[in-house]
């Protein structure tokens, strides 16, 4: 297994981690090397119970919602599919634990850490920014913290996850689309003022 210090993000050479406008309406940062798993299963009681035993919480069955427990988020992708986001390098242990509790059930745990890039958007203008590239209604009356959605952002297939009600979002995008989406976000953020890093 590769050492973490040899890891190279698909955004290397594209993404900045500091600097930018001092009066920024948007803060953009990569959350590099997070662990990501795809969990598949029938969504029945037995499956949910087994997944709960490994995760500490059951995968959400309400469409477009996410459950977060400590450093692990479980995002609904489909009635039989969830995206699990963990801290860096925590995915292998979690995957093993899931496989153990799921046992011989018709279920699957797949490590997709390297196929998805995680971005963090924050700031007062993220709603307007996302509205420029996403047809989904993300207005507070229709969408709120703890909700997630697979949709299009600037034509790229993404998973959006709203973290809080102050405009913090996580965006998961395929590695090959990440540089494009990063540049699109930079360009679309110009009018609001853009800063990099978590601030």
């Amino acid at each position: 297994m590769a050492e973490i210090n040899q890891a190279r993000s698909p955004l290397a050479g594209v993404a900045s981690s500091e600097g930018g406008s001092s009066e920024a309406g948007i803060r953009l940062t990569e959350r590099p090397f997070l662990g990501k798993l795809v969990l598949r299963g029938d969504g029945g009681d037995g499956f949910l119970k087994a997944a709960d035993a490994a995760l500490g919480t059951a995968p959400p069955i309400e469409p477009n919602t996410a459950a977060t427990i400590e450093e692990v988020s479980i995002l609904w992708h489909s009635p039989d599919e969830w995206l699990i986001v963990t801290a860096t390098s925590a995915e292998t242990e979690l995957a093993n634990r899931l496989r153990e509790t799921l046992g011989s059930m018709h279920a699957a745990v797949i490590d997709v850490s390297d196929s998805l890039v995680a971005l963090r958007l924050s700031g007062s203008s993220t709603g307007s920014l996302l509205a420029k590239g996403c047809a989904l209604d993300l207005h507070p009356r229709a969408f709120g913290p703890g909700q997630c959605a697979q949709t299009h952002l600037a034509s790229a297939l993404v998973t959006l996850h709203q973290i809080d009600d102050t405009g913090t979002w996580d965006i998961f995008v395929r590695a090959s689309f990440a540089p494009y989406l990063w540049r699109w976000l930079e360009d679309a953020s110009l009018e609001y003022g853009l800063a990099y890093g978590t601030g």
Partner: protein, 118 residues
């Protein structure tokens, strides 16, 4: 652009969906009992109505689930969304289903005979 109500994810942009063609085409279970013409009818003939149409969609860039829709091909109004494996419940949908030339086709009779046996 259509706004399509995914039964799982809610109203989404048409660009997120893949079109799956006409719904309720039953596959003959005993194809050897069909003539070439009847088999070709099953395989190649699609309805092309100006009006109510029963069709399949898939939320390709979302939950990736299949579902059926009753859509008016002239106004693009989506009259009903219903689950795979079920029949339409709206008046227009039921009418379109019952009036379809497919209901009397040799291929569908063949498919029904097969499923009745098993």
């Amino acid at each position: 652009m259509l706004l399509i109500e995914c039964p799982w994810c809610g109203p989404r942009d048409e660009a997120e969906f893949a079109y799956g063609g006409e719904a309720h085409i039953a596959r003959p279970t005993e194809p050897d009992k069909l003539s070439d013409a009847e088999w070709a009818e099953y395989l190649f003939l699609a309805s092309n109505p100006r009006g109510t149409y029963l069709e399949r969609w898939r939320h390709a860039h979302g939950c990736r689930r299949w579902f059926n829709a009753v859509r008016d091909t002239y106004t693009h109004e989506i009259i009903e969304i219903y689950a795979m494996g079920s029949l339409p419940k709206s008046k227009l949908g039921i009418q379109a289903y019952e009036d379809s030339w497919r209901r009397g086709s040799a291929a569908e009779q063949n498919a029904k005979r097969g499923s009745a046996k098993s």
